[in-house]
Symmetry: C2
Subunit: 513 residues, 2 copies
């Protein structure tokens, strides 16, 4: 995308006019910039004072082109000590900061709202250590996920985290946003896979906790606070992550079925029969599939159209064993009459093609205009109802008229990680209009709360959902969060206006009035 | 054990004479007791004012008979609201509290030091909900681990946590001490398996976060702070835990080998070849085995004596497949000439007998007099050296003379969870003498620090290790812990004198002077 296109994007501060710059933060001066130039390599300070607006724009705009900040300064420290000096100076001088990593987030968490200084970890991208006995990998926060995957793979290991944005996202951002992804079902959460972190606090203090140990019961597990803090408590500079062995056999099966009840039966049977080898249980619905066919020129190797498509993957150490288990499982679900069609991948290439199709869904959803992306975690029984109810609501408001090309809403697609109870609802529209936004939000958050879900499973809060935190957490919990924030970032310089904003919305009436 | 025997145990306050009662805490009065009697069922208030000293003794003394508190009052609330009322009253009236669960801890964390009120969760032992789709179990904190295991097992599931004390320990205590145990290698940490917690804060506020969701990225993950907080921040009242499917096949193999280098090669090969089915990789050394033979009348089905004994267990869904993998693995390590003997269990009964032998090690270590128990997490390459060096040190001091029955130290046994890098060093002695204590501590903590380990892998800090926290965490981290403690428990009523004590020991010289 050219900088010309980026220039057309509306500034966040204009679009969300209720947001006001907090004047307690100082504005950037030449003196500030000179200080940063004195501690960082010259080329690692990008400033509008030096006519670098075009370069700055790439850091100011998010991946979805939905949010645009107005930072005048990007800092690219090359080591922890430089991050420490930058943050200490910002804290002492009341300069607001946005930590940025791969800038592939989906909630506007990694771009500024106003003129916050962007501190990017992109210049810190070295692998520090790998131990092939324990599988512990230690690396800089700015390492790109796909690079880490390639490094581990060469050594017979794998990163326990995988996602569509792996070529862009960095491990520091993954940790800071508590990323979930495609391997969560089998390999679990970053709360367990991250063994150690090095973090710079806003005052410049460095938490050295780059542990290589799988077990540690010495005191409160402080590092957990930074996993999912979205840069509001400090900047993660180094990560120690536990990597599992790379599987010797990867199999996959693509299924289609015609009801959510069947999806649940298939899931239950898969967990029962594929126990130790199941590595993913993903789905996309017919609406998502229609976009993949239309925009990506892909089709599933299945003959009939159906309501739900399921991708089950297995990771094991013996292909014959895994094939036998997978075939026994397919026999079971066929006998139960819950699956309409099933197709087992012939080889690794076809397995990969199934994943390309699944991973194309979010890309296809963004191929026309704007896309409202939701990332809900909801108990499985009612997980899909959110898509059904949302379509109904948008149709009743007459903004979604399937088949009518003048409809403001083009498509309401659902897909995600069934095994983790995590659904992504993507509402494709002409543009990010207030009318559509108001129809969706906070309705979708209220719906989620009523169905015992939370408003983010893996994308985080950022600017998009910070104000809606009250739909997922009690006031007691939000108070504790705020107190922890005040404790570690008393000047509130870290990623302000988001996550834990001053004004929270907890009832539908709050936003209507 | 009779109460008579318990009466002979020295009070903690006398044994550790440097501990002083903090006089900011009020002493118990009739008025206080009357309040508790007004809010709890009469039989759930056990007080020395009512001549219940003998019953109190069972709550005042720990499982190892190493620590003895002098509490005059035990409260057994039956629900969260009662816990809330009790804590609020204690907080308002500056009464110190020790939360207690199964009282099977190993670091003196769950018994009082002085006259702290014991709040036991033993009367809260109901299972609230189980969902056989997601495998999420929700239960009271006072549920005994073995009872939960039986409940899950009947439904085709298993608790991801197992340990020798399962008949006594309760899930609330497991969570509060961040228990590890025998299944950690495969099923991971409580930081990932605990999905939700309900916690009562010292001021009586209730954190309602009993989530059934596998994924949640809405704000700081506050519940993580209570996992491993050992009751210093509040009382866990309900737990939501993710349970995996129960394996259809469990196999085990017992091996012996003659060097630590070989142990490491075997571990690496086991992880490579048994990938998805390995569920445990445990060891005990010849010293531990000698105690098992002597005190427990058990022998391994192996012909020769050797230096290290390894128990490998597999969990899978198909016995034939697992047998094939296990046999291929055994062929590999035989060819590498790293194993002296190997014995595959014939059936479930024999698998169980292997585990009984492994689980008997800590019991056998405690069969004569006193036992100093250490629980170190250390990178694998030097994990066992701590035992070698400790034996050398004690022999040089002439307190450990193998073969001499008058020796003050009987045995220095090592065992534990190799796959998790967690070793238990058990030093069996005539009694808990100061002379032996001073020879071991803080030497063992210093050794651990020098070898990049931490002083607790799974037992926690408690009274035993709180003062030594500085050997495993930096002052920056300890400051953050202390600030979080002050935030949630400003009156410091929760489990005082332990965990984060006022005086920390961070250098050998601190204790020598």
């Amino acid at each position: 995308m050219s900088t010309k296109d980026l220039e057309d994007i509306e500034c966040t501060a204009d679009h969300y006019s209720y947001l006001k710059r907090d004047e307690k933060y100082n504005r950037l001066t030449e003196e500030h910039v000179n200080y940063f130039k004195s501690i960082l390599p010259k080329e690692n300070v990008i400033c509008s004072f030096d006519d670098s607006e075009k370069e700055l724009l790439k850091f100011n705009v998010d991946w979805m082109k939905k949010y645009r900040g107005q930072s005048q300064l990007v800092l690219l420290p090359t080591c922890t000590e430089e991050v420490s000096k930058c943050l200490k100076y910002c804290n002492d001088n009341k300069l607001a900061v946005v930590p940025q990593s791969g800038n592939s987030g989906l909630v506007g968490g990694s771009v500024p709202v106003f003129d916050e200084i962007i501190i990017s970890t992109k210049a810190m991208n070295k692998i520090i250590d790998f131990d092939d006995m324990s599988g512990v990998l230690i690396c800089n926060a700015g390492c790109v996920l796909a690079d880490l995957e390639a490094y581990a793979s060469e050594r017979g290991f794998m990163i326990p985290l995988d996602m569509g944005s792996k070529k862009y996202c960095c491990i520091g951002g993954n940790v800071s946003s508590n990323a979930g992804g495609l391997r969560y079902l089998r390999y679990g959460s970053l709360h367990s896979n991250v063994l150690g972190l090095e973090v710079v606090l806003p005052n410049g203090q460095i938490i050295e906790n780059l542990s290589r140990l799988r077990k540690d019961s010495t005191g409160y597990d402080i590092k957990q606070l930074f996993i999912g803090a979205e840069g509001t408590l400090g900047i993660v500079t180094n990560v120690a992550i536990s990597t599992p062995r790379k599987p010797k056999a990867i199999n996959a099966v693509l299924l289609s079925t015609n009801s959510w009840e069947n999806v649940q039966v298939i899931y239950k049977k898969a967990k029962e029969e594929l126990q130790e080898i199941i590595s993913a249980f993903e789905f996309f619905d017919e609406h998502a599939y229609s976009l993949v066919k239309k925009h990506m020129n892909m089709t599933a190797p299945l003959k009939q159209a159906n309501e739900f498509y399921i991708l089950i993957e297995t990771h094991g150490s013996n292909r014959e064993h895994d094939d036998a288990k997978l075939n026994a499982f397919l026999d079971t679900i066929k006998k139960l009459n819950v699956v309409q069609e099933g197709y087992v991948s012939k080889d690794d290439k076809q397995t990969r093609s199934f994943w390309v199709m699944r991973e194309s869904v979010p890309v296809a959803c963004s191929m026309n205009g704007a896309v409202f992306k939701y990332d809900l975690s909801i108990p499985m029984a009612t997980l899909y109802n959110v898509a059904v109810d949302m379509r109904k609501r948008l149709m009743e408001a007459n903004v979604y008229r399937p088949g009518d090309e003048t409809s403001e809403v083009f498509n309401v697609a659902a897909y995600g990680h069934i095994g983790d109870g995590n659904i992504h609802l993507n509402i494709s529209c002409k543009n990010y209009s207030k009318k559509i936004t108001d129809l969706i939000e906070p309705y979708i958050y209220e719906w989620t709360q009523e169905h015992n879900g939370v408003i983010s499973g893996e994308h985080g809060l950022g600017l998009m959902k910070g104000a809606y935190l009250g739909y997922s957490k009690s006031s007691v919990m939000i108070d504790i969060m705020q107190n922890i924030k005040n404790l570690l970032d008393p000047n509130n310089i870290m990623n302000p206006y988001k996550y834990l904003p001053k004004k929270m919305i907890t009832k539908l009436s709050d936003i209507k009035n």
